[in-house]
Symmetry: C2
């Protein structure tokens, strides 16, 4: 899977399947996060994008929550997602993310939901810089 | 730097130096995020932890914001940080993160600020699972 020769490296859409969207619900109830994962998997991922169910992404009060990441790219965490409303938006956004070399979708090309519901982002790993203090 | 032979792999504390803590301020003013980075660097990182200044982590309204990460570990993003109050807490938390194999500080050992100000977390990269749909 990692010897993919497409121009862009594969992208991964992580979906928190434990998300309750901040709601009280019985322990054995099927959770909104699981519904979102199921809806995405049923619709099918764009080529070069994998959809991975994960444990809690700790954005519990503002779920459902996903993360987009890939080798050499910024990782973006998005919240406020709903299985009944946002599947197409998410898959479109994942394809746009996949098409970037660095995870930075140009602002004007970014889905509206992404603009308003970014929880955090984290840069790709880099080599140490002169400003770090590894042995303070 | 990457051939470190300590039991735990090095940990990295990313500090958003662009953070305004949601405040209006002149474009050329020194930002709270830069103050936080300076205070951390002046105090000095624990052994095996590097402190890296980074561009916006997009938790702007609830900054200052940092991320803790390392090879094979969950990445944690924390907000609500203040240069005048939280330097010791952050460095203590970074050392506790470094001492874990997977980034999961046991709940009872987690600094109080970390318990209440976790913005999001992202799992370490893993191999594809049977549940992914790479070519939907």
């Amino acid at each position: 899977m990692t010897d993919d020769t497409r121009a862009a490296a594969p992208a991964e859409l992580l979906v928190c399947i434990k998300c309750r969207k901040g709601q009280e619900m019985p322990e054995d109830a099927r959770r909104p996060g699981a519904h979102l994962f199921d809806a995405l998997a049923a619709r099918g991922a764009p080529e070069g994008v994998s959809i991975t169910p994960v444990e809690c992404l700790q954005n519990c009060d503002a779920g459902c929550t996903v993360a987009l990441r890939g080798p050499g790219r910024w990782t973006y965490v998005y919240g406020g997602l709903d299985a009944a409303r946002d599947v197409e938006t998410l898959l479109d956004g994942a394809a746009r993310f996949r098409d970037t070399p660095d995870g930075l979708i140009p602002w004007r090309a970014r889905p509206e939901h992404f603009k308003r519901n970014c929880v955090a982002r984290v840069p790709p790993p880099t080599l140490p810089t002169s400003e770090e203090t590894p042995h303070g």
